[in-house]
Symmetry: C2
Subunit: 211 residues, 2 copies
């Protein structure tokens, strides 16, 4: 169905942060941690941590706390990072390049397998191990390859058309950096990164704090 088991997006949105802290703790060799210790580290309430985690199961043990490595793995599974996700990028500008070169994604099971652009000047150029392909090849590519997630780093004007194309070819997840709200069927997941909105929010908080 559409949305996952009625767990709120507020909860889901906090999981990656837990994952990040657990990863750091794990790398530091920490074996166990209580919700209270973690709450101090993360500046959230221990109640919230326990409640968030218990949406997915009882990962802790009374009197002991949570095993860091185990909990980290469980959260990775919840977030779907236990299986490789094949990702393509539409738009080979600076933003697309930045994402393709970001090392952390591949560490977490996201495999970038293609990059497309409509600009003839960019087609054929290399980005890391990939070569930029013409966006005209995209429909054919989608027929021949499994694509879990498509990243849209194209200008606003081209975004809707590209999204439609992706949806028609069966892509079910779009990471949208274009500054528009995409209209897609309910079974297609869209995660927006509206940078301008984020900057405006900062601008508000900055301005409001000066008053």
């Amino acid at each position: 169905m559409v949305q996952g088991k009625g767990i709120s997006q507020a909860v889901i949105g906090r999981l990656p942060r837990y994952y990040r802290y657990l990863n750091t703790l794990c790398n530091a060799g920490t074996e166990r941690i209580s919700s209270q210790e973690l709450s101090k580290l993360m500046h959230v309430t221990a109640s919230q941590i326990r409640q968030d985690l218990n949406h997915f199961g009882g990962f802790g043990q009374q009197g002991y706390g949570y095993n860091v490595a185990y909990l980290k793995e469980e959260i990775a599974k919840i977030l779907g990072m236990d299986t490789t996700k094949h990702v393509i990028v539409i738009g080979a500008g600076n933003l697309g390049k930045a994402l393709l070169n970001y090392p952390n994604f591949s560490k977490n099971g996201f495999s970038f397998t293609g990059v497309f652009d409509s600009d003839p000047a960019k087609v054929g150029k290399s980005i890391g191990t990939l070569t930029v392909e013409d966006v005209k090849e995209l429909p054919q590519y989608l027929k021949e390859h499994q694509v879990d997630i498509a990243v849209l780093t194209v200008p606003r004007e081209g975004a809707e058309a590209n999204a439609r194309l992706l949806v028609e070819s069966g892509v079910k997840a779009i990471w949208n950096f274009a500054h528009v709200d995409l209209e897609v069927p309910a079974d297609v997941q869209v995660e927006n990164v509206h940078l301008a909105d984020s900057l405006m929010k900062l601008s508000y908080n900055y301005s409001a704090a000066r008053k």
Copy 2:
């Protein structure tokens, strides 16, 4: 007009989206709009629109609705976009370049006035009208120039040190793209763009929908 205090971040976070839709309407020549029409366009409730706006004042008129151009300007003011914000970028990688080249920011009162990097290979290179400066020059630069917002597009490891430097030099707003939670005094505003978190959230929703 009355700038309320303690307005929730949920409300603030929606303002840029209103602004975007009003801008589009304005460009299309639309003069007036009711909360109901706007609600259909944006897929939110009319109640929410009216309630959000009324945190900042009564911008509408009974029986008429809202004047698009006027409301747009009022929201711009609320978001602090009526005064120019001087912005610098720390980190001249692909992400920094992408932000510097994004045309919409300058349209909305954000003026990028400097870019810094620690990599000698990047120092001296041009990005648009700016030249990359050595990050060692940053303290001196901050003494001589007004900086409203600093953008952190450096690797995780360098982020904390740069943030400390910025805070010590009196910068009060940081747009943080590094994958860490910065520890700053309460009077310094931080807006995080955690791309990995966003991708993981999409991964969850994608995986959950397949079940």
